[in-house]
Point group: C2
């Protein structure tokens, strides 16, 4: 077999079963080999940012890395923004980049560029292939790297010379069992240190804040953390955008640290200790004149119960044990308790109304992707009342354009779960090509396109900073209005314009009832 096939068969043997691809000439041997490795599902995208964002969504839902296939430096560059988001979400991912044949590099042909340098800032692991014979081992190493066995985890990027793909190769004889994601248990002394720091702070009358992140956003962790909060006198919050969270049903609603400093900093103003449970010490998203980076005041001590990437539930459980906090039994049903019946809104469409209509109808086990940006607060206000579901943040790294691709990846990963994307309009434009892949793969998704026709977050920032109210030119998306339903139809996805609540509710019910993709352009 050739190198390309050895590479892909190795991936398949390790349980890799999805490949989000936008190939070019240097990847055609990979394309051909995919045809002979049927256990890997090839998913074509019209733009590379769709591939990388979809791989992120896929891995957040399955815990397993997907492959991406992109074309030399410029093609991979198009995918970098969503590799950045994945890096911040600590998502495993394996990027395969076809490069020129080794002997062709010296020619500096038009498409040549320094791919390794481009890849490094967003990748935890980067390698250039050395020959066809080692491609299978390269894949094993990439999988190890993505799972975090040999690096911090995240994106493993393999730059594959085209001649290594077409040359003869064999399979590596080393282990081909499916590796498990590395999620170490917090060390005992780490838990002991955290416990005594908490006890000491409370003895001294200092307020204790616990910040949850990483796997600490799962249902069980949230229950333990909330119980710790109420029984052991801590304020529990969630940190900056996390990859995945359980919400709804009996999952406690734990407030997130607000985005803007004037809301976040007062919240932690009287903190006497910050306990990190899978989160980093909270920092502001941006720096502002006269401001500071850290959310907690200078000098407030920090103690780590669980590092990001560690098993937060194990850490929380150990802490509860140390503090003598026992768990409460919960009811047999996990069905959300917040709504008696589907909310029937009437009148004008509002963000809160969209939220009520959605959360009261949300099917159990749904996946909700949120890239609602400035709309997120109002629309997510009642999310905790919905049936139990999984929430994926679209902006873990702040790179805009994650929502639609994450939706693609989550829907490929979970064909039995409805995937709903709460999607800001400005952000949707970056990776609008995702809609075509939704149609091509008949993905079971509803895109709620929140059309406020502005880069509203920028308007808010301009107002906050006292900069000109007249500066509408570069934040206004309303000249011309974007017709999202039309664009969706152009890409093969049914589109409905909803200008009032009744129309929205009807469209939403159709989207939840029928299989396949639907976009609802919600005029807000």
């Amino acid at each position: 077999m050739n190198g390309a096939e050895a590479l892909l068969r190795t991936a398949a043997n390790c349980g890799v079963d999805a490949c989000f691809a936008n190939p070019g000439t240097t990847e055609l041997h990979l394309v051909e080999a995919l045809d002979r490795v049927p256990s890997i599902r090839p998913v074509l995208a019209l733009f590379e940012g769709v591939c990388t964002g979809a791989a992120d969504g896929y891995a957040r839902m399955t815990g397993r890395p997907a492959l991406t296939v992109t074309h030399l430096g410029p093609g991979f560059a198009n995918g970098l923004a969503n590799v950045h988001n994945a890096r911040r979400a600590r998502t495993p991912m394996i990027n395969l980049i076809g490069d020129h044949a080794t002997w062709h590099l010296a020619a500096d042909a038009p498409l040549a560029s320094d791919i390794e340098t481009l890849a490094r800032p967003m990748s935890g692991w980067v390698r250039r292939t050395a020959g066809a014979a080692s491609l299978s081992q390269d894949m094993l190493d990439a999988i190890d790297a993505a799972y975090g066995a040999t690096s911090g985890g995240g994106a493993a990027t393999l730059i594959i010379a085209q001649d290594h793909c077409w040359d003869e190769s064999t399979m590596a004889t080393t282990a081909t069992a499916t590796p498990a994601r590395q999620q170490p248990t917090p060390a005992g002394d780490q838990v002991a240190t955290a416990t005594s720091a908490i006890r000491k702070a409370q003895l001294e009358g200092r307020k204790v804040f616990m910040v949850l992140g990483g796997s600490g956003l799962g249902a069980a962790s949230k229950r333990v953390a909330a119980r710790l909060g109420s029984k052991a006198g801590m304020t529990v919050l969630t940190g900056a955008p996390n990859g995945r969270a359980d919400r709804g049903g009996h999952v406690p609603a734990i407030a997130a640290i607000p985005y803007f400093p004037e809301q976040a900093q007062p919240l932690l103003a009287d903190a006497g200790l910050v306990v990190l449970a899978g989160a980093i010490d909270p920092v502001q998203f941006f720096g502002y004149p006269g401001g500071r980076s850290r959310v907690a005041p200078d000098g407030v001590p920090v103690v780590v119960l669980a590092q990001p990437g560690e098993d937060v539930l194990a850490g929380l459980g150990a802490l509860a044990h140390e503090l003598g906090v026992t768990m409460e039994a919960i009811g047999a049903t996990d069905r959300g308790q917040g709504f008696d019946r589907p909310v029937v809104a009437d009148g004008p469409l509002t963000l809160a109304g969209i939220g009520s209509m959605l959360w009261s109808r949300l099917p159990e086990g749904a996946v909700v992707v949120s890239e609602a940006i400035s709309s997120s607060g109002q629309i997510e206000h009642e999310e905790w009342k919905a049936a139990p579901h999984t929430s994926l943040a679209g902006t873990t790294g702040g790179a805009i354009g994650g929502g639609l691709p994450l939706t693609v990846g989550a829907a490929v990963a979970c064909p039995d779960r409805k995937v709903i994307d709460l999607q800001a309009d400005g952000s949707a434009a970056y990776t609008v090509q995702s809609l075509w892949t939704m149609a091509r793969e008949s993905l079971d998704v509803v895109v709620v396109l929140l059309a406020n026709r502005r880069y509203n977050i920028l308007d808010i920032e301009l107002k906050r900073s006292g900069m000109g109210a007249g500066l509408t030119g570069l934040t206004d998306l309303g000249r011309p209005d974007i017709g999202w339903a039309k664009i969706a139809e152009g890409f093969g996805v049914a589109g409905i314009v909803a200008e009032d609540s009744a129309t929205f509710a009807k469209a939403l019910e159709r989207g939840l009832r029928e299989s396949g993709p639907l976009l609802i352009e919600a005029m807000i």
Copy 2:
């Protein structure tokens, strides 16, 4: 004034008058300052690849760099593919990237990344600002770098800390005159060496090939080169995708070196000398099994008459003088001689028919952007017969998605010239957001969207290499069909579907007659 204003006022004083922007929070002081520097036209795009590609098109038409404004590492990464194309076209461009405030970098906030490393592969010059006081000087240096005074020219990338934008600053007191693009005259001994190499080759009965590139694709250079070809016994060809070429009217039709090795290499098989006039020694776009990089056979000597970036016309003129070749007068009119009247095609729509209809109607002075990929040969076959016009290649660096943004930039640069984009469908998808900017700015463009519903170039490559005919999965854009006219309308651009020649001719005539953008979805 603050740093942002000092920076932009310096740019304005140096003749910079366009800014293609997709800003975020870290660029808001630049946005605000743009409002106070009215001689710089801000053009908003929904995606960063539109900004960088438009800056490329703008500079190819004006010779002057435009600004781009993008948001930290991920935002700039979205623009890199078209910076790569611009690099290969040797286009001057100034990329302004807003980064976090200096004191916020250590916080490693979600959007932080290593921007310098990302920027370096595609930029000729990269700098991180040192303080508000030096921002004005930074801009002077960036302009010098873009023009090639202090580097190889091309993209100058300035990473601007947000606090340097909001801090107080002053204007630099050094020169603020508009600099000129550096285009050195080829050295006399370089011309002498080329002349004697040509004479020696011809004395020895070796065939001489001249390859034109860079500024050698201008009308006057082409005339001198063609005259040299016929009078001094050289075969004149054009090299791999060049940024800008004059075509039509009395501009001689000079054949390009074909794309595929099996066509290109036989053409130069009996070469005894390759003379480079603004081109590099021709290499294949990709390497193939058993193939080679160079188009000319190994061992064929090369001599440089003019380096890429040098004044090719001066070199050609000097060579003509040395070889005793004088120029012929041309007629007073530059109107194309190839068509007596507009071609009226009937029946099914073909690429050749689209070409005849277009070239026979092309207004003098039009700008034709070509990213037709696999359709380019047939559609451009009769281009030489059209009225004189300027041609911009969409794939100078082989990065797909250049055509629509180049069209935006050329139309902003040349409001009095009709801009026509011959646009492959697969490529259009990468930067489809360009359509919105065309509508927003009422740009006078006609997009001829060539809908073959395939990544046809990949199918051709698969067939050439003998790889599976059944491998349609990842090259087929027809499941579902993309409705380009609908997508155009969604972005605010009128769209017409043309399934036959008569409809296409009517749509084309409307596009040429009316002002503003039109997309014709040509079903081929």
